[in-house]
Symmetry: C2
Subunit: 315 residues, 2 copies
Amino acid sequence: MTVSRALRDPERVAPATLDAVRRAVARLGYLPNGSASALASSRSRVVAAIVPTLMNSVYASTVHGLSSVLRPAGYELMLGDSGYDPRAEAALVRSFLGRRVDALVLTGVSHADETRELLTRHALPVVEIWDLTAHPIDMLVGFSNVAAGREAGRFLAARGRRRWAFVGSAPAQEVRSGKRLRGLREAAREAGVQPPLTAFVDDGMSAAEGHAAVGALLDAHPSVDALFCANDALATASLRAAADRGLDVPGRLAVLGFGDFDVAAHTRPALSTVRIPGHDIGTHAATALLARLDGGPAPGTRTDLGFDIVRRESA
Amino acid sequence: MTVSRALRDPERVAPATLDAVRRAVARLGYLPNGSASALASSRSRVVAAIVPTLMNSVYASTVHGLSSVLRPAGYELMLGDSGYDPRAEAALVRSFLGRRVDALVLTGVSHADETRELLTRHALPVVEIWDLTAHPIDMLVGFSNVAAGREAGRFLAARGRRRWAFVGSAPAQEVRSGKRLRGLREAAREAGVQPPLTAFVDDGMSAAEGHAAVGALLDAHPSVDALFCANDALATASLRAAADRGLDVPGRLAVLGFGDFDVAAHTRPALSTVRIPGHDIGTHAATALLARLDGGPAPGTRTDLGFDIVRRESA
DNA sequence: TTGTACGCGTTATCAC
DNA sequence: GTGATAACGCGTACAA
């Protein structure tokens, strides 16, 4: 018991005892058993996060943001990827709850019924990220995907573009990307231009697929003068597809990306893109979680971190 | 006890009992407590992985590879990033050991003394990844960074390039990148060309820094006719820096990247690059771990997964 | 096939 | 300031 105290709360132990404990710890290489601690205290000091994919860098900065504030606070990160599948997400939630994580970070606001049931039963702090909704499960840190799509459309309209196309996953496959398409459609109506054409890809992050899909689109619809891509990998591939056809960007075709990937500033032409504060989403979400875990006043935080349109050369 | 059996080994329980248990489980929303299970069995069914950074996609596919074989086997992934700092890595190892993870994945083969001590005391399966060494801690799945650099150099030499430069982190900062530089130097000697120039960046993944550093290099040394970049983000930035100066790639300047990022095939010109089997490294490492965890014959696996030079347009 | 007793290594609680 | 005792919720070993 004294050892336990000495390690967790050195102040409450006599200096001499503390010293003796520390010496013994060093000599034995003693490391407190986290499982036992978790069992006894019912606090695991583990936070789990579920992102749609680990395959690429989209959510990497968010994960980094999470870990950069959780770890210094003594929490470890458990990570899972749902592959954009709500049922896979539910399975992960179940597993994480079984491991008694202290809190959960969920990407997006649409979840399987099972997920909601589980979370209702095992009440624990939850943050949903990367989107907005009027009825979050608990806390929320994100931005409006619909607004992002709408602003993208307004941006294109303001530059005189009249024939738009959207490049990305089908809405059924990727909810947030679908919301951006919805916003784009609204903007088209608002601007009095035709509804945007669509070039859907199976794997929303595959530059190769994007390259092919955009090529087909450009060939079939030569009148297209603006592309809004669901991410910068697709946008980079679009740049290439345009170049292959001798289409000047932005002269003949505007290309607007999404995500502001690291390379966006260095493509040729440099990508205009929608920048999402991915890292900040992570740090804010983690901070909200910590406040709650430290027994704070439990505010149902709902934070809109917004987005920016970064104008470079491609649009 | 019967419940415990019913859940873990349904075969060993009478059908009727099993059914009753399942009904009760469903009704109560019962989820076995992982901490208690871990404490009683001294198996946490958690594997921890430490990568240098979560900020970008370099290690993303490896992490995905790990999780794609670990999770179906009932293991969860705990993730940490060392920021390329051996002392931070040691701190993570300590934390993970305290949480009694069943196995550990470490990136690279050079570690702080403390890390080695910890791992010696708390013997557990360990896989080192993304490099090779004659004396791994335990198991190893990677490729030779020196050989990668050497082959990159031979590739440039074979294309008649005589004045090479390396773009990346300083060797002291990033060991594996330093090994590739070493390989490049060997190839230069072999080819009878001058030792490569170097443009070091502080943040090895920052395209912005790369853009500036390469610009300065090209201005100061107009004779440079080949660039070997430590990663494709830097290479993309180099492409742009060359374009800014009206230097034809590959005519006047060859650019060879590293990593084969998703966008590499779609830059203009398309990037020639060294492809690392990042995903495979993850799946192989996880498979080796599982074999060991399932009480296998504990072979000190040492796997060289190699690399390829993908020739596109830039070199 | 099922159940009993005990221990895993901590922490909460309450004496001292 | 320190220690004794009793959980925490499982799994192991063995008995019924």
